[in-house]
Amino acid sequence: MKRLAAWAALAFGVLYFLLPLLGMTEFSLKMRRGVYSLDAYAKVLADPRFQETFSYSVIMAIFTILFGVLLVVPTAYWVRLKLPRARPYVEFLTLLPLVIPAIVVVFGYIRLYNTSSWLPLTGTATGTNILLMFGYATLSLPYMYRAVDTGLRTIDVTTLTEAAQSLGASWFTILGRLILPNVLVAVLSGAFVTLAIVIGEFTLAALLNRPAFGPYMQLLGANRAYEPAALAVIAFGITWACMGLIQLVARLAPKPAIPVKD
């Protein structure tokens, strides 16, 4: 009886998640009357604005990931090594983007960095791109920080650092050659979440008037019937591919040195 209930719960869960996806996928294939076709996908992929906005968002995601890694890995490492008491406060700070809406963040940015401010980042396209990257990094901070912090928890940060120091290593060497390679899986999982956030983000890009994928999806959804569904399926495909990559990389990662039995 218990087993039956468990199977029923599982079936309900699967249907709950899969049915809408199946419905959307089926709808995306119905562009040609009476038959299933990939016309909607072909239209989306052939649209130069799709290529343009998608490339823009991927490039922004790469820069955001690099900036996030440079910001988060040393911070999380230092907090674990030297400021363990500050960990709850830092965690709280990193969680703030979850409760502060993106629209508040972007209005704050615009007020602080507009053309008449002391640092007029919005005055140029490059400056606005940098501002957008900071915004994306802020939005992905809760996920990136937690992923890296969890990765650091699996290694003995203090002893490994001391071992490296006693062998003459500088802080740069310790971070680059020891800490980063050992939390690479965590960094990558944070990176893929960041990629997913950047690809789908609308508010920051729209209000900073940048040609990103999020506003393009919104525009397409407001004006077309079948293409938005095809676009959503493509976006799902990208996300799942990212998750698959996380799993793959996790298998290749260095394992903690728990000794085999003597």
């Binding site: 071992a163 062998l167 500088s170 260095p254 903690p256 000794p259 039995k261």
Partner: protein, 355 residues
Amino acid sequence: MTEAPYLSINGISKSYGATQVVRNADIEVGRGEFVSFLGPSGCGKTTILRMVAGFETPSTGSISIDGRDVTYLKPSQRNIGMVFQSYALFPNLTVAGNIGFGLRVAGVGRADIDKRVTEMLALIGLPQLADRFPWQLSGGQQQRVALARAIAPRPTVLLLDEPLSALDAKIRVSLREEIRAIQQDLGITTIFVTHDQEEALSMSDRVMVMNQGRIEQIGTPAEIYNHPSTSFVAAFVGTLSQLDATVTDTTRGEATVGPAAISGLSLPSTVKQGDAIRLALRPESIRREHRDGDQTLEARIESVNFLGAVIRIKLLIGDVALSLDTFNDPTRPPPVTGQTIKVHFAPETVLALTD
């Protein structure tokens, strides 16, 4: 130690807030000497080691190596090799990568690193494991690699922080012999921190016993074991029976323990007749066979512990407890609990403790 000290620890103290964990420690270690820091958990031995390594800064005092003051140098600038209890091998590097890490950081050329790594692998007897990762090794193998990694850059001093604590008993014994052999072979000045007295006594040129942040005694293993200078050292190193006694005659070295009188004791010059002192006897100093000059006591067997090669017998003299170790003799039946026997010991083996 007759020659000039190689490593000098001069009057160092360490406090965390109001808690003083090391109190005015002075230690001098000769070149190539193997010194063990022995003491219970929290006695400050690891803190001193960490100050030598540079991971802690002394609150007062100084540390010098080969005449160079290193008190405030960064750990990476001290050229000290360190082996940790938890091995601390870098999980992302192979055995060869771990051993060569210090040399790579120092900018040594690839060919020289390979040569030194091969040397080190031969030294620790694991030449076939160069390409393995730490998680593919046993605890004993990991600790050997950690040792090779620490000595590969030819450090001035080797620090071993309880390196055998996490290992099985058999591996521990074989590895401590290997560590000592390698240390003697290379002639490297070594400090070994342990709370295991057997390790300290069997491996060291000298042992420093610590308690509550203070150095209780520094001496050779034989000095520490046979002539402990404080009751803490006497009790901490080896098994010891302590007997409360009253001095009855200082000229004849006589004291009473319960109903029994013992004479011929080497009493400290400071004690007077009627003073309460503590006498201490090692289990192996007490015999069931009488020899000339022995003191004899009558005791009741309280319990018998069969330990294999040795039988440890707990005795009661009145209400005073004593331990006696005797070799197992398979041709004779073991002693029986409740039996009254005569035990003997040489008075000079009795330690008189006044503190």
